[in-house]
């Protein structure tokens, strides 16, 4: 039986004088203000310090501004060594992590093999151990293997830190690719590998890209493993920062480095905000 098509005549709304009903979100503005002060002010203070040449208490702003300390900081050889080391480390770790994890993530998302659920769960469960305790346990093993204070020792320990994120975000990304899209490619004559390259990977690429970026920035800033395993030979940028803070050499060194170091995280913020803001990101942590 066919159902009758009901055509509702468009009713003409009577014209009512409209009042502005849009209310101002005072609560939101208050939260913005409070968060703004708490979150932004410390960073602003650092930024001012970076460009201050003389800033004596109790002046509210520096007496003299200038770039003298930028030159001083950037002419230190240990800064450049740490910078290049940190970049090499982060690149190595991110690359290795991607090579190891992306195929695995695809397998977890699409293939069926014995122990799949248990293995995947064990990746998620690696968050269930206090991280620094775990690092100490790993470090004591590395001590016997002679990996302490070597480049590859630090690479390994930082690799562990990226595993989790580089597995579950891509898994979610691959699972979100419509299966029919992959089947349509098979139907058009593409083999499994070709389907992966031409359909699954490009479809998941934005999310995976964000995950890779987050891993890179996360590794660049990783302090604890680098400090524990790397000391004293391997001094990454954050480790150098800590020495600057501890030794209180010149306040501005730390400030200049902070401003410099903040550049990569700014990019990470720009490119991965959509991923981080999505609920699936938080769900990966077990909510």
């Amino acid at each position: 039986m066919t159902t009758a098509d009901l055509t509702l005549a468009a009713r003409q709304e009577p014209t009512v004088p409209t009042r502005k009903t849009k209310r101002i979100d005072w609560l939101g503005l208050a939260i913005t203000l409070a968060l703004g002060i708490v979150v932004v002010v410390p960073l602003v203070v650092v930024a001012i310090w970076a460009f201050a040449e003389v800033w004596r208490y109790p002046s509210i702003l520096p007496q003299e501004f200038g770039l003298r300390f930028w030159e001083a900081t950037l002419s230190r050889p240990d800064v450049w060594q740490a910078m290049s080391l940190s970049i090499r480390l982060s690149l190595t770790v991110t690359l290795l992590s991607a090579v190891i994890c992306l195929p695995a993530a695809y397998a977890f998302a699409r293939l069926d093999f014995p122990g799949r659920n248990l293995l995947f769960l064990s990746f998620l469960a690696s968050h269930a151990f206090p991280k620094f305790g775990l690092l100490v346990a790993i470090a004591s093993i590395f001590l016997n293997l002679g990996l302490v204070s070597t480049f590859w020792g630090v690479v390994l320990i930082q690799l562990v830190g990226t595993l989790m994120m580089m597995i579950w975000i891509p898994v979610a990304a691959f699972q979100n690719v419509d299966r029919a899209m992959e089947e349509a490619a098979r139907d058009a004559g593409a083999g499994p590998l070709r389907v992966f390259w031409s359909v699954s990977l490009p479809q998941a690429a934005p999310t995976i890209g964000a995950a890779v970026l987050l891993s890179f920035v996360g590794t660049f800033y990783e302090t604890e493993g680098a400090w524990l395993i790397g000391a004293p030979e391997i001094r990454t940028m954050p480790v150098l920062m800590i020495t600057f803070i501890n030794n209180q050499i010149v306040v501005q060194y730390g400030a200049v480095l902070s401003v410099l170091l903040w550049v990569p995280s700014f990019f990470a913020l720009m490119f991965s905000r959509r991923l981080v803001g999505s609920s699936s990101f938080a769900k990966g942590f077990g909510v």
Partner: protein, 297 residues
């Protein structure tokens, strides 16, 4: 290694082909699984074994000597108490700050909410080293806050730098984004319709929270709490830079025992003690992940 058969489809016929696919899958995950086994699972068991058994004259024998030393050492116990105190205070502060924030983000529909979300996520992209440095410059002695107070003629603050409050402030700051995100995700489970229906039935804000929202996100809150506790309990950078030198939190304590005292066995003992204390949170965390994955299937 245990192989549980997954709940996937087992079909009659074509078994050879299916085995082939199973092997491919295992092969693809083998590298990260090996890393996981070698760098997470093995070290944990190794740590427990190493601290419980010592090599004596006639081979290995069971010994609790390092644990005894830890629990009779007043300094170590002070460190442990400090860590527990900081963790508890941080967790309480985070819940107090992030729950209202998450509620706002979940239910607000104005454009301001996007700004709030951006600000709340912001700390995630500030590395803890920079944060530590910024906090010293801001709330440290003669820092930014002191400058402002001085300028308006008020006395200086009692600087939290190098007191237990230093790491508390730093850790709360650092953990706001993830805690808020996870709570917002938890609140995603409360449907708009459920809230609207309750409002329709006459529930005011407080009643909504008490009877509709909180009961539905109870589990999510516990997961968030476990996650936060696990993160804060063994934090290193912020306590190391901002915290007091004595007593110190477990993170710096372990690091010092390992690197400066070169007593790796004692350091591992301390690590095992942190594992044991966090075990219930960890177990709860794993259980709820497993349950969530089960439910989503």
């Amino acid at each position: 290694m245990t192989h549980t058969s997954s709940s996937g489809t087992v079909r009659k016929g074509g078994t050879a082909k299916r085995n082939g696919r199973g092997l491919t899958g295992l092969l693809l995950v083998s590298a990260p699984v090996a890393l996981l086994g070698w760098l997470i699972i093995y070290p944990i068991f190794n740590a427990v074994a190493r601290t419980l058994f010592t090599a004596g004259d006639e081979g290995l024998h069971f010994s609790l000597d390092t644990y005894q030393r830890f629990f009779t050492d007043g300094y170590a116990l002070n460190n442990l108490w400090l860590t527990l105190w900081v963790t508890a205070v941080c967790a309480a502060c985070l819940m107090a700050i992030c729950l209202p924030l998450a509620l706002y983000l979940r239910f607000a529909k104005s454009r301001v909410a996007a700004v709030v979300q951006g600000l709340a996520l912001f700390p995630m992209f500030v590395p803890s080293v920079i944060l530590a440095y910024a906090l010293i410059r801001t709330i440290g002695p003669n820092g930014g806050v002191d400058l402002v107070l001085n300028a308006v003629g008020l006395p200086k603050i009692n600087s939290p730098y190098l007191t237990p409050w230093g790491p508390v402030i730093g850790l709360v700051w650092d953990n706001i984004p993830l805690t808020t995100l996870m709570l917002v995700a938890g609140l995603g489970g409360v449907s708009d319709n459920a809230v609207e229906a309750a409002r329709d039935a006459g529930a005011r804000r407080f009643a909504l929270l008490r009877y509709i929202i909180l009961p539905q996100i109870g589990n999510a809150m516990l997961v968030v709490l476990s996650f936060t506790v696990l993160g804060i309990f063994s934090a290193f950078t912020l306590p190391y830079v901002l915290g007091p030198a004595s007593p110190e939190m477990m993170g710096p304590f372990m690091q010092r025992t390992f690197s400066q005292l070169s007593d790796s066995r004692m350091a591992v003992t301390q690590a095992v003690i942190t594992f044991a204390i966090c075990a219930c949170f960890g177990a709860f965390y794993v259980r709820s992940i497993a349950k969530n994955r089960e439910a989503r299937r």
